[in-house]
């Protein structure tokens, strides 16, 4: 038994450094979004989406977010230097943040999610990680502000409000299934967080589009013009939710297995279980809505927002206000 106080302190310092780096990245992302970022002309003419892949051309594919590599995902015609820097600094913050989380785990000799503070720092690092990974497949650079902002906010909350001294776990939380259950829940939640950022942008883009369709020019939020159209945002967010859903299903399953091992009942309608179930049903409803005539588009997006609100409530509300067998909130 024992907690290494030095390592715990080092972990705290790493988290503070990561926050500083996130703050820098956030500013750079915001500058890029506002259109004041540095853009270097790469000196080539505008090319078509299929550029770089040799062969024939087929037509008919709808507009999509192009895939980017993280280092230089710019259109051949331009190089957004500010955002490239933002992503580099985000990587730096991610590394510091990851080290902070891992050291916390080493200090307490267990997984670093035994209380709300550890939950928040671990959850936030997964959000950043998933964002950086998603950049590989889709050009989500415009989303940086809306990802790093919440990450920074939850780190701030974690160190200012939720901070808990490093310590070991109570017996009910010592289980491999807890590790599996919680880590998958983190990844699913991170996907939902990114999806939600996209959905919010989709809804405001949708509003601007319908204003324009009515002949009016939206007065605010000029930066939105540089973002993809609402249907592209819709498809991009769907892809994230669609990955999140099976992972959340797995979370429920692993949680039930753990509950069975710890308390003998795989399902007990404990507040945490109730809300995990509500979230699952809400995202299932969203997936259904997208396949239902008249419910796609904006209405499905609203459902995704409701589902996300449930997710947030499960995380903050239930841990803080409810007592149950999931007692790590104390």
């Amino acid at each position: 038994m024992g907690v290494n106080e030095n390592l715990a302190q080092l972990s705290n310092n790493l988290i503070y450094s990561a926050m500083a780096a996130y703050a820098v990245a956030l500013i750079a992302f915001a500058i890029d979004l506002s259109g004041r970022g540095r853009v270097a002309n790469a000196g080539r003419e505008k090319e078509l989406v299929n550029a770089g892949s040799p062969g024939v051309t087929v037509t008919g594919a709808g507009p999509e977010l192009p895939a980017t590599s993280m280092a230089a995902g710019d259109k051949p015609s331009e190089k957004r230097q500010t955002v490239a820097m933002a992503i580099m600094v985000t990587w730096l913050a991610f590394v510091l943040h990851t080290a902070g989380v891992i050291l916390r785990g080493v200090a307490v000799e267990r997984v670093p999610w035994g209380n709300m503070y550890e939950f928040s720092i671990s959850g936030a690092v997964i959000v950043t990680g998933v964002y950086l990974a998603a950049l590989w497949r889709m050009d989500l650079r415009f989303l940086g502000t809306f990802v790093i902002g919440p990450v920074l906010l939850s780190l701030g909350l974690a160190v200012a409000v939720l901070y808990t001294e490093a310590a070991e776990l109570v017996p009910a939380l010592q289980s491999t299934w807890l590790v599996i259950h919680v880590s998958v829940a983190f990844i699913a939640s991170a996907l939902y967080v990114l999806g939600f950022s996209l959905t919010v942008l989709q809804l405001s883009q949708d509003r601007r589009e319908s204003l324009r369709a009515g002949g009016k020019e939206p007065s605010r939020g000029q930066f939105m013009d540089k973002l993809p159209a609402s249907d592209v945002l819709d498809r991009a967010s769907y892809r994230l939710y669609a990955i999140g859903f099976p992972l959340w299903t797995f979370t429920l399953l692993a949680g039930a297995i753990w509950a069975e091992k710890a308390w003998g009942r795989y399902w007990n309608w404990d507040p945490k279980e109730i809300w995990s179930f509500v979230i699952w049903v809400a995202y299932a409803a969203y997936l259904h809505a997208r396949a239902t005539r008249g419910w796609d588009g904006r209405r499905a997006a609203y459902l995704a927002c409701v589902a996300f609100a449930c997710l947030m409530f499960n995380y903050f509300g239930v841990n803080i206000f409810f007592s149950g067998l999931h007692a790590y909130a104390k």
């Binding site: 024939v56 594919a61 017996p171 669609a242 039930a256």
Partner: protein, 568 residues
Amino acid sequence: MSTDLRDGQKPRLPETEDQSRPIVQPRLGLLGWLRWIWRQLTSMRTALILLMLLALAAVPGSLIPQTRIDPSAVTGFVEDHPDLAPWVRRLDGFDVYGSPWFSAIYLLLFISLIGCVVPRTRLQFKALLAKPPKAPRRLERMPVHGTVTTTDSPEEVLAKARKALRRKYYRVHAHDGQTLSADRGLLQETGNLLFHLSLVGLLAAMAIGSFVSYSGQNVVIVGDKWANTLPQYDTFEGGRNVGADDLPPYSFTLKSFTAEFDSESTGDQFGAARDFEAKVDLVREPGAEPQEQTIRVNQPLDVDGARLFLVGNGYAPVITVRDGEGNEVWSAAVPFLSNDANYTSTGVVKMPDAKPEQLGLLGVFLPTAGTDPDTGAEVSVFPDDDNPKLQVYAFTGDLGLDDGVARSVYVLDEGKLEQVKNAEGEQFTQTIGVGESVELPGGNGTVTLDGVSRYVALDIRYDPTKVYALVFALMALFGVTASLFVRRRRVWFRVTPGADGTTVVGIGGLSRTEDTQLAEEVRRLLTAAVPTRVKESPETSTDTAATDPTPPSEGAATDRSTQPGEGV
């Protein structure tokens, strides 16, 4: 091409042929109405609304205490909200998940689900057996399409196309000599159906489980023997099909129980529990050799299909009581209920045979007695038994054990009891350590704390359906994963003779799902089927030249894009 859409279901992408189904007006009449109701119930829109209702209906159970989870919280709620409570009760608010309205929602949802999934399953069987559908007349109307011209012969093109398709796991069929039809990803719909059907199975497993399972709780003091018979349970809840004969005849002796607490941390975590471990000598059936087994918090013991869980523990002070006449009326360990993190515990001893009067003791046990820095009161400062002390209070009179009403063994019914008072007329109390005795005033006897033992609270559960629940849950997980990740695609090739003995190759692709990579896949298939191309006529090549940096007749550069497995 057949469309297997539900009422209200949105086709994701244009189908090949118009879906101008005749609109059938329901004939008025009972059958017509029934059919109409069935159609409504099994439509996508109803399923969606029922799903939303289900999510909404599950919420109140997290806000209002539930009888099946925490009965004492319900009692507390009723006391705190005397006006609200009757209404909550009338609406089944204390048993949301067993209430008629909650059941109605999920039963309707599952009826809708079955009504929806069964016809789709039939269609899917047909689709699995059928050949990929014929090529549409105009491939240009497909969401993704392309045309190239080559000097290869039509047969060569089709052979290469077939090979490329096979490599990407397409089912391929030639309906005629000019076209190839191919499709892949039928697992997507199969997975979707498997997911929905597994949910039905999961619900069924849970429902059957509630009939055949049982659970019970008991408290066992270290050193005691416990046998699996109904009277030995403190509480027992059996499904409707469970009787006393169904309990397997095992027994065990609790050999030891050890608890570890954090004595190193500071602040909140000081004294937090770190490990609990119970060791038992298990006799699986009468006459069998005892085996030593360990039970921990996340590590239950399996016996004969039942599982024993360690759910609680506490102290059981060993107390001896002699009554006013010097007779030993009690000598045993008494399980005390712990009230706080430091195991400040309370317990009672009832001695109806004590003379001159029935005697009841109320004890407060402090495993590590110390003084509270703020109040100066004597409290427990650590959960381990480092300095065990017992505060003794005594009562005389009628213990109320004779009227046949069940009474908790942890509570004294003080209604007909009188406090034993000290010389000042206040309630008598004294704190004793191990080996010490206290003489009760008024010639009511003596109490001795002989030692301290521990007890464990065990939950014993038997639910043979849970493995089925697990299997269905795993199938659902697999199904939904396949449903969301497998891409269902159709691709057609068509070869037609062009000018000067060339061959014009057309390709069309269609996907039933969100499919951002369809265009890329179709492009690669076309490249693989037609490695050597001639420059196309101006009308069809709107953008080929701009994107293809290699001379059109050289195929070498395209090898990379025909690797198997890519983009699948």
